[in-house]
């Protein structure tokens, strides 16, 4: 087939909702876009373990500690599903990790905000995981098979993450006045960064057109953001908390909430590396990677030695 035919054939599969699988022909740009998006998604899961990991030792009860441990372990697992999906496209795992550690690859900016107190753990589960779910539910129908399948697994697990977060917020909002104030404060601090998670406005978004033609993304940033606002506002009201946006108002004609403008200067500043925790997060990842190097090497050497012993048991005994 000529390259033109290959490309037409590829697009017609996408148009008729046939998934693209690893060994199928695909345009280089499709492959590159997916590797970039999937690996950055994986990095976000891994870096996302840090703000919550910060509170595991200080969880207010054993129940909460078990839950938080399980949640953080899930995030690690999600990172692994995604790296393995990226590898089906020919990406090299170690290279992807290097891109994160050198700052060449981005991860979700939301994890560059600090977790100051326990209410933040509630707010993250409810809002940050809630926003991530909006995006990820859409991605269960993405055109690349392994990415879509990883998303199905992830979405099943994320649902617990969001519910446990909301439960924390509900407990605090229904507690003492101080506890309720903490819950409200956490909502105040996490609301806008959560809205920023959906990315730039559609009119400013660099990748949207091609990504929707290829059905990598099936909803625009603004559509997903609107959807998130509409489902989250009543959840806040239900537990007596108020969303920190004076412009928030139900618009009967649109059938949606109108809401205020995001501080885009803050958005770009955090993307460019100047958020409250960018340096700290990256340093933590680099430290983990470097401190773990000898373990990775020793495990490999041990496996090779065991294999060698299986092949020539006598020689290995002599050598020892």
């Amino acid at each position: 087939m000529t390259s033109l035919n290959l490309e037409e054939n590829f697009q017609s599969k996408i148009d008729t909702e046939i998934k693209i699988e690893p060994k199928d022909w695909m345009p280089d740009a499709y492959r590159k876009t997916l590797i970039r998006q999937i690996s950055q998604h994986a990095h976000s899961e891994i870096v996302g373990m840090l703000p919550e990991g910060n509170w595991i030792t200080r969880a207010p009860s054993l129940r909460r500690k078990l839950i938080l441990l399980a949640k953080v372990q899930d995030e690690g697992g999600h990172g692994l599903y995604l790296y393995s999906a990226a590898e089906t496209l020919g990406a090299d795992r170690d290279e992807l990790v290097q891109q994160l550690l050198t700052g060449k690859a981005k991860y979700s900016s939301i994890f560059n905000y600090p977790t100051l107190n326990w209410a933040d753990i509630g707010a993250i589960g409810w809002l940050v995981d809630g926003a991530a779910i909006m995006n990820q539910v859409m991605l269960t129908r993405t055109s690349y098979g392994p990415y879509a399948r990883a998303m199905v697994r992830i979405c099943k697990e994320e649902s617990f993450h969001q519910r446990q977060g909301y439960e924390i917020m509900m407990a605090m909002a229904g507690g003492s006045p101080e506890q309720k104030a903490m819950a409200q404060d956490a909502l105040n601090r996490w609301w806008w960064p959560s809205l920023m998670m959906f990315g730039p406005r559609d009119s400013e978004s660099a990748h949207s057109d091609q990504a929707s033609k290829w059905k990598i993304k099936r909803k625009s940033n603004d559509e997903l953001r609107q959807q998130f606002v509409d489902v989250t506002v009543p959840q806040a009201e239900r537990i007596g908390l108020s969303v920190p946006d004076p412009d928030l108002k139900w618009n009967e004609a649109r059938g949606h909430n109108d809401f205020g403008e995001i501080d885009w200067d803050e958005f770009w500043s955090v993307v460019k590396g100047n958020g409250p925790c960018n340096r700290q997060r990256l340093q933590a990842r680099i430290k983990a990677y470097e401190d773990g190097a000898w373990v990775r090497e020793a495990a490999m050497a041990h496996a090779e030695k065991k294999e060698q012993r299986k092949i020539e048991p006598e020689a290995a005994v002599k050598a020892a």
Binding site: E21, K23, D24, W25, A70, Q73, D74, G77, L80, Y81, S84, A85, E87, T88, D92, R93, D94, P146, R149, A150, E157, R296, E297, A299, M300, H302, A303, K306, E307
Partner: protein, 94 residues
């Protein structure tokens, strides 16, 4: 010395009576570690009762570009399906 751990494909039997199904892949130094990692990565919620792991390099896959000639022989043999045959409606248990 820098050497990446090899890649393994993971297959899980979700319950007795069902076949093992491919769920994804992971890196591990050997089969034992691959099995243990597969337990942690792919069965945190009772998704399995049995795990198979095989190093990815040992899997041979058919080439999608050849799928037409490869699968074509089955396409025109509709007489292999029970619906190809006319049997009177009042004949039961068939």
């Amino acid at each position: 010395m820098k050497k990446e751990w090899p890649l393994w494909e993971v297959f899980i039997r979700s319950k007795s009576g069902l076949n093992h199904k491919h769920v994804g892949s992971l890196h591990a130094t050997d089969a034992e570690m691959a099995t243990e990692n597969a337990r942690d990565v792919y069965t945190r919620r009772n998704e399995g009762v049995s795990i198979w792991v095989v190093e990815s390099k040992h899997i041979t896959a058919s080439d999608p570009d050849d799928s037409d000639p490869l699968f074509e022989p089955a396409k025109d043999k509709i007489y292999r399906h029970p619906t190809f045959y006319n049997v009177p409606d009042d004949v039961t248990h068939m």
